[in-house]
Assembly symmetry: D2
Amino acid sequence: MKKFFEDIQISFEGKDSINPLAFKYYNKDEVILGKKMEDHLRFAVAFWHTMNVQGRDMFGEETMTRPWNSISDPIERAKAKIDGIFEFCEKLSVKFFCFHDRDISPEGATLRETNKNLDIVIDYIKEKYKSSNVRLLWGTANLFNNKRFLHGASTTSNADVFAYSAAQVKKALEVTKELNGQNYVFWGGREGYETLLNTNFKLEQENLARFLHMAVDYAEKIGFKGQFLIEPKPMEPTKHQYDYDAANAYAFLLKNNLQDKFKLNLEVNHATLSGHTFEHEIRYARTNGILGSLDANQGDLFLGWDTDQFPTNAYITTLAMYEVLKGGGINPGGLNFDAKLRRPSIDLEDLFIGHIAGMDTFALGLKAAAKLLEEGLLEKFVEEKYSSFDSGIGKSIVEGKENFDSLEKYIIDKGEIINKSGKQEYLETLVTRAIVKAL
Amino acid sequence: MKKFFEDIQISFEGKDSINPLAFKYYNKDEVILGKKMEDHLRFAVAFWHTMNVQGRDMFGEETMTRPWNSISDPIERAKAKIDGIFEFCEKLSVKFFCFHDRDISPEGATLRETNKNLDIVIDYIKEKYKSSNVRLLWGTANLFNNKRFLHGASTTSNADVFAYSAAQVKKALEVTKELNGQNYVFWGGREGYETLLNTNFKLEQENLARFLHMAVDYAEKIGFKGQFLIEPKPMEPTKHQYDYDAANAYAFLLKNNLQDKFKLNLEVNHATLSGHTFEHEIRYARTNGILGSLDANQGDLFLGWDTDQFPTNAYITTLAMYEVLKGGGINPGGLNFDAKLRRPSIDLEDLFIGHIAGMDTFALGLKAAAKLLEEGLLEKFVEEKYSSFDSGIGKSIVEGKENFDSLEKYIIDKGEIINKSGKQEYLETLVTRAIVKAL
Amino acid sequence: MKKFFEDIQISFEGKDSINPLAFKYYNKDEVILGKKMEDHLRFAVAFWHTMNVQGRDMFGEETMTRPWNSISDPIERAKAKIDGIFEFCEKLSVKFFCFHDRDISPEGATLRETNKNLDIVIDYIKEKYKSSNVRLLWGTANLFNNKRFLHGASTTSNADVFAYSAAQVKKALEVTKELNGQNYVFWGGREGYETLLNTNFKLEQENLARFLHMAVDYAEKIGFKGQFLIEPKPMEPTKHQYDYDAANAYAFLLKNNLQDKFKLNLEVNHATLSGHTFEHEIRYARTNGILGSLDANQGDLFLGWDTDQFPTNAYITTLAMYEVLKGGGINPGGLNFDAKLRRPSIDLEDLFIGHIAGMDTFALGLKAAAKLLEEGLLEKFVEEKYSSFDSGIGKSIVEGKENFDSLEKYIIDKGEIINKSGKQEYLETLVTRAIVKAL
Amino acid sequence: MKKFFEDIQISFEGKDSINPLAFKYYNKDEVILGKKMEDHLRFAVAFWHTMNVQGRDMFGEETMTRPWNSISDPIERAKAKIDGIFEFCEKLSVKFFCFHDRDISPEGATLRETNKNLDIVIDYIKEKYKSSNVRLLWGTANLFNNKRFLHGASTTSNADVFAYSAAQVKKALEVTKELNGQNYVFWGGREGYETLLNTNFKLEQENLARFLHMAVDYAEKIGFKGQFLIEPKPMEPTKHQYDYDAANAYAFLLKNNLQDKFKLNLEVNHATLSGHTFEHEIRYARTNGILGSLDANQGDLFLGWDTDQFPTNAYITTLAMYEVLKGGGINPGGLNFDAKLRRPSIDLEDLFIGHIAGMDTFALGLKAAAKLLEEGLLEKFVEEKYSSFDSGIGKSIVEGKENFDSLEKYIIDKGEIINKSGKQEYLETLVTRAIVKAL
């Protein structure tokens, strides 16, 4: 068993600490609204960003050197990275990790060989389980990196690629089940189009539905009880992806009678690329009963691509956790750090620093959101604003007793209607207040 | 009866003309793919932009002086504007117009008085019908200008405003029916939120559904047979509107079991503000059976608000008409010019020039789209690209005969999968070719 | 003398207060880094947003009713609004206000008449000066609302409009001087173009330079010593404005030898519309010695127009005040609230609440920025990161002693160069830390 | 000498052709406005996109297999690619190519070794020159791919990296001179910042100026007479680049007294990412005398990154060539195809198809622009619109004879000023007309 982070020690030092390698706000056992922080937040480390990414971008090579990559044998390297992710999560006291199938083991010449490689690593993880409490939050299949997916996976124009994708997801479901993964994610990285000019949109949408139904059937067949999640993203890598945003994904699910089988995995940066705030996407999902899990990161609103930065903005995390708390929590989903280090953050310790930054910012957001709920100023304001629907004509409308005729009779001779102020300026100060007073 | 445009004569002069007041490409009786241009395009003039708008923007007063506004009596002015819209449409050989209730007649102290004013003008329009072939494409209610709607109309926090909106739409449906309007549009100008902090999202969504069901019931009650249309727009005037884009509106319809009662009215500039091309929104709608009507304009992709420019870009109109032709036409919907003159285009004749620009650009687009279809190069390319789904495993997938097990068996020992080139660069040249060769 | 806000009492209550009408963080006499808060921040109230704006947007009428607008005589109403702005500033303990010439007095049939109206109001303000400490931070001329400016003011295609603009600015300079205004602002609301197709770009740029030189000459002639400020904005109302951003304005100043006569007035929302963060624009300006004054507001990064919201985001104000403190302060400029209430914030008291929100958020930002500077963690990090330029080859480069030959000799046989980590993730946590620990 | 494209034959077939491998509009010897097409357009092939890029994106591996990459020896492969680029250009009748130093030869362990590799390839190119007319339009240095540049090149925080960059540009200038390159380009790929929090903005700007002065000095020393070009881009790879747009680069040049030594290389997709149309950037540059060369591609305005697509939109090329013709041509610059195939365009022939698409679209744009100029409708309109500056007070303003006093006298008692209509809607139809009638 390899050790890579022996020099690193992480502890909770509290809000006065300036130690980059200490938690300032995240105190996992601290109880907030009757539940431990770690149970509210259910953090997960993303295998790909932590163990695989090394700073490459479209204009430049890797900037980071990771010790596990000095191991030349692919399977040994794969195992070393499993050692690494467990050691990393344990140091951080994070209970979960997430992976794509191809993150953790190398491809072979055929799918059969690829699956064999995967099995070796899965067995190794099962060994790790015996001595560690780190577990799989969700698994998924990488259906976007290999060139075979250049026209999509389940929405490809090539039937063999559809078949390949099906077989790959079959295996990914099996191994997720084997590892007691609590969720399984579908992110349609290449499920979309580059140009409508060469796209049979209808067939692709129908094939996507067929594919998801097959996945549902197969999960049932093997007894996989984890939650199925669709992860919306509007574009990148393709010009336009089918699961553009929460509403788009929901329309697809409803149309294809899949709404009871899937929930959503929402990501900050995907939300913002689609023109929505993160809190909007969560509100939309929880209102429609499809909030499943969250990808914790943040984008740069001045940049038009997925920057996947570690979350450091407390407004985003406060408003997100406010929605999560209002929605009754995120379990069996979690907060997966789909976040990568900035390209110049090249030190090995930066992996810890980035995660600590993110965990602390979400912990701060959780405490601020709890403060908002405890004081109840927002709730009270909203209640009063809508109070006309609690009695009289409003109550009658909500109860379905009115129609256009009756409402016309009610209003036709009334004079000016008086509205209440929305007081957005004041309400916004309450969010800052909650952050400033959270600790 | 007032005449405002007696000096203006419009004719078709053909592609060599540089006369701003002549059609170059739109020849209404010319037959394209077996149908007259005017029946393909079904143009409509928007009452509000043509008769009411005068160049005001957020930073400056009106720049345009319209002769009908020198009439001081409100009802007489309203009638003069009816004269004007009929004269305008006739000069342009446009068969349809569209209006909001408040565009055509003034508000009174109560809704009852407002309705009386409206009735006078509706009677006047019915008189005009006797001597003109110009007809109403669609009616709608203005539920956004008056301050009573500051928190929304059917999604207001004030039950009286909900009632008022219901009564107003009731009347708007009645007059649309009276005028044989072929469609009725719901654009949710204030149906959205400024901030989630003061918004009961769930109640607002439920009330919106209640409202639309009431509208359906009332239309049934009075025997209105026109098509109901939702018009998506992502933002503006509110920070975030509920009918964000086609998919968002479709999700709402499906969830609330309204999908058989409503189709969509799609606008170029609303599409682009929501991050989609116009052709995407049309493709999405026709694939899902909800394409209803189109608002013809264009936005400026460098600006983040609804500029509502007259369409002058032939790529946009070609790709739009290609989708329309593939979808079997737009009837009983049409192409409504939801377009306004640039603020410095202050001459009265500019109203004609703008519409001619738009009609010509759509006529060119129609001819280019027809050329694309006649030559069939795009269709042939797409057919070949997806041919693997016409036989063998692909056919079997499409027929629903496969599952994850069978597909794994099929693919697990296969080697490299060969894909075809997407040839986007070539396909794009075909669009330019169609435009250049359209005439 | 009219009183409009007699029921309103504003005080500092401190960070625990939830009173919307009390300051939580802004304690004007509190000393931060050796200077009183009010001297750091130099707040100003914008006359137009406070006294004139009433909630109108492009899709809806006014929602707010202001008591001063019930006065029917235009000059009496103008005076009442002057009473109002002084009372408002005094209640808030704000020492400055800003205005456009046309905000404060009505236009007449000719410029001579308009100037007479203006003189009456200026005399009235001078009377107010005797009993109040409220003063003019900056004056400016409104060269965008009247329809005569539809093609621009100094960049118009109409020579008479150029002349009019010159005469109007002449008068605006005179009255700003009369009131001891400390600055004079040029915001080119219509100085830009709608389309290049009808624009003589070169002539317009040259005329803009001529105009600014005339202004400089005239200020010298009348002995106006205030600071001249250009206010960049990329678009809106025009499609593309000439003073697009700080760099664009600076290029113009340099080219036309105006760089010593003008500094910049930077606005948060204008910065973000041009693709830059506010802190970028300030850093750019102070690095180039052209930081003059700031417009305090905030935009919505999901919306593409100038929303002019009251600033409530402490990250923006912290990073802005950090730049201001590093730059040695903003005097003789200030922080003008170019911010308007959201359309549903209709209560008269919301004017106070909005300003308190903004002042508190800037006060918090000031304290957080001071904390950052006092602890010096950012400064120390930057110093170390660039330390290679403090000695050896780096020092020699900075001192101008090296050239391509000498540098080639130095490096040509060296092996790998080792870089330091940029540690962005850690540095970002320091900003949150400063906010959380500011109070 | 290797041959890679022996099966490919390219010819001019004219506008009716549907052969993807034939020119439809680009007929190199056809004379337009007295000059051959090829002399107007001066096309260049970008070495990197054509010989090196193979479809990799941030989410997926290479999709394209190029025959030259089967050669294992790095120097032999480099030579083969030189054969390839010459063969490719000759087949297309393109006279120029462009490269970064690292595109054409591999790096060694030290800069000395790297330079040796480069010399071998440069000698090989000089051999090719003897039997080919293909020449170097511009050379440049790749200062962004290698990890040493992670904090920038001349704007790095590491003095050794500054030295390395200097030495690398020194060599790149030498080889560009050796090959009679007509231009040398500075694109600041990493010259910018990821976060202001760790950036010494002032030092970086000063070092950039020092660097460019060194380059000027060295070019003078070695007698390099080619044109120096700055290539603006707003972001990507860095969060914010220093040469954000044309105006930003111009400000920098002016401030550092470099404005006579550098012109600009403007790219379509960089322009649009910075919020400007391509025609704006060209107009700005030619108005200020700094138009140097163009990078021909197009972006997707719905995507926020540099997609570098082959240009297929005739509006963009028409408006660009209109500016180029008005500016007197682009010589000694040219039109470099900084464009890459879409990831699914995997056939070797797609390289030709993409370039033909781009060349044809620019040829069409050239012909349309020439038509616009020949007919002169735009020019005449603009002339009339600004005619008030040709005589009277306008002429006097332009001649510098007026001031605020004289202009006030002129205008103070005048009544309403009458403006002309801007007629944007009509002018836009002229552009479509020129495209439709260009052939």
